[in-house]
């Protein structure tokens, strides 16, 4: 089992020992600060590498669903394709339209990527592999995840383009329509688990079984809401290519386009990770699994990654199969069909806890 915080502390003390400095002579804030810096560098690199791997998984699987081979040439089996794309985008010219609103134009994708990265800071990945163990991390993840409509609106307005304005408004309306079923489903998980701390929710699932079994409707509602929040097909209209070129991000080029793509897949990764942590038992497997599958070092991390990639492959499968939904159909699905299902799910959770089965 890896515990990032205490192992980073060992690394920092080892380096200090090499330099013949004992930790007690330094001021009291030095060792926690250096430990935090090592921890966040490991977590940040892990997240960015994971996101790039997620983009690779999407491209290969989408290619196979469409009966073609995607990303063959750069690196072995196309693993370095996305790094090549990133380097290409770094060298592209970045045009600011002359009649746009420059401060808001420059601010909006920065806000978009910063709030998503802050939401990632609260996700635990294994038994000791977390940045912090705050007792209300789930609601902070949801809060930072829901700051996106603001930045999309600002970005769509600041480009001074009729079509980006329409795209921004549609994106904001779609995102706020699908946050209510998401938060109601999260509430039903909190009823069963009794805590807002993500590590304790996983521990509760380890003791009493995965929450997908009583809350199966909730899992479906949550996955559909994540698909709409991340703006994947079939909820793709605000950034559909035949309709609005790229929606709110039409005028952004160069590194800002790289930010938009990266943040879309970062949000997809956060959504899949939340679905795994809340419904599929996180990094634990049921107790009747044999010990050689679940007791080697880094076991929790590997099982977590396997589950996240399986959930994401289901999302890619949905993308390859379904057509795109119109904007009024989209809003009517969100408010009129998913909201009653989420309320039914909530009543099922209350009934299950009152009977006493999953306490």
């Amino acid at each position: 089992m890896i515990t990032v915080y205490s192992e980073s502390k060992d690394i920092v003390l080892y380096i200090l020992n090499l330099l013949h400095i004992t930790a007690s002579t330094l001021p009291w804030y030095v060792v926690p600060t250096l430990t935090s810096i090592v921890v966040i560098i490991i977590a940040f690199l892990f997240t960015v590498l994971n996101t790039v791997m997620v983009i690779w998984v999407e491209r290969k699987f989408l290619g196979r669903f469409m009966d073609r081979r995607a990303a063959m040439h750069v690196g072995y089996a196309g693993l370095l394709q996305n790094f090549a794309d990133g380097i290409k985008l770094m060298r592209k010219e970045f045009i600011i339209p002359s009649s746009s609103d420059k401060p808001a134009f420059l601010l909006s994708p920065l806000l978009y990527i910063s709030t998503t990265l802050l939401a990632i800071a609260f996700l635990p990945l294994s038994w000791g592999f977390y940045l912090n163990n705050i007792s209300f991390s789930l609601i902070l993840v949801t809060a930072f995840f829901s700051l996106a409509p603001l930045s999309i609106f600002i970005g769509g307005w600041a480009s001074n383009n009729k079509y980006t304005l329409i795209g921004g408004m549609r994106s904001a309306a779609q995102m706020i329509a699908y946050e209510i079923p998401m938060i109601l489903t999260i509430i039903s998980v909190i009823i069963l688990a009794g805590s807002l701390n993500l590590t304790q929710i996983v521990t509760a699932q380890y003791k009493t079984g995965w929450y997908i079994l009583p809350l199966f409707i909730g899992f479906i509602v949550f996955c559909v809401s994540i698909l709409a929040e991340v703006e994947r097909i079939p909820f793709d209209l605000p950034e559909a290519e035949a309709e609005l070129v790229e929606g709110w991000g039409t005028e952004y080029g160069g590194v800002y386009f790289a930010f938009l793509m990266l943040t879309d897949y970062l949000r997809g990764y956060v959504g899949s990770a939340l679905a795994v942590l809340l419904f599929l038992g996180g990094w634990t497997m049921p107790t009747y699994f044999p010990a050689y599958l679940t007791a080697f070092p880094l076991a929790g991390l590997i099982w977590f990654l396997i589950k996240v990639y399986i959930v994401f492959i289901i999302f890619v499968w949905v993308r390859a199969s379904l057509p795109r939904v119109r904007i009024d159909q989209l809003l009517s699905i969100g408010w009129k069909k998913l909201l009653p299902l989420a309320v039914i799910n909530l009543l099922i959770a209350i009934a299950v806890v009152s009977v006493g089965v999953w306490a």
């Binding site: 926690p32 600060t33 935090s36 810096i37 966040i40 940040f44 060298r91 010219e93 045009i95 600011i96 339209p97 002359s98 994708p109 920065l110 990527i113 990265l117 802050l118 800071a121 609260f122 940045l131 912090n132 163990n133 705050i134 609601i139 480009s159 001074n160 383009n161 009729k162 329409i166 408004m169 549609r170 309306a173 706020i176 329509a177 209510i180 938060i183 109601l184 509430i187 909190i190 009823i191 009794g194 805590s195 807002l196 070129v245 039409t250 005028e251 160069g254 590194v255 790289a258 930010f259 904007i327 009024d328 809003l331 408010w335 009129k336 909201l339 309320v343 209350i350 009152s354 306490a359």
Partner: protein, 121 residues
């Protein structure tokens, strides 16, 4: 506040602001810069621009924002209830209160969305 547990979050927040700025600086060093008149105008699929970017915002979108605020306020009370309702002294009164809150807000939302969902744009 036990601030030491927030220390990685504060540093990660600083990194979340520095990483985009560092990427922008890298782009600034690496990109070409050729100014042309036509590049700087906004993109309208190759047509000439007619008028300013001012559209008629459909008035019926406003109801979605109002229902969203109402449902958000409902859900924060629901979160607080969901955390603690097992250990309260009188569980059933709490369950009754929260079901009444849920039903009031949902009846309001149903009434407001009863007509067709009208998108003008």
């Amino acid at each position: 506040m036990n601030w030491i547990i927030y220390l990685p979050v504060i540093f990660f927040g600083a990194l979340a602001f520095i990483f985009p700025l560092a990427s922008m600086f890298l782009n600034y060093m690496l990109r070409p810069e050729i100014k042309e008149e036509q590049k700087e105008s906004t993109y309208e699929c190759g047509e000439e621009l007619i008028g300013d970017a001012r559209i008629d915002f459909p008035f019926s979108h406003y109801i979605y924002a109002i229902i969203f605020v109402a449902a958000d306020v409902m859900s924060i009370f629901l979160i607080l209830w969901a955390l603690t309702f097992r250990n309260l002294a009188d569980k059933y009164i709490a369950v009754g209160a929260i079901l009444s809150l849920l039903s009031f807000v949902l009846v309001g939302i149903y009434y407001s969305l009863r007509g067709k969902v009208d998108i003008g744009i």
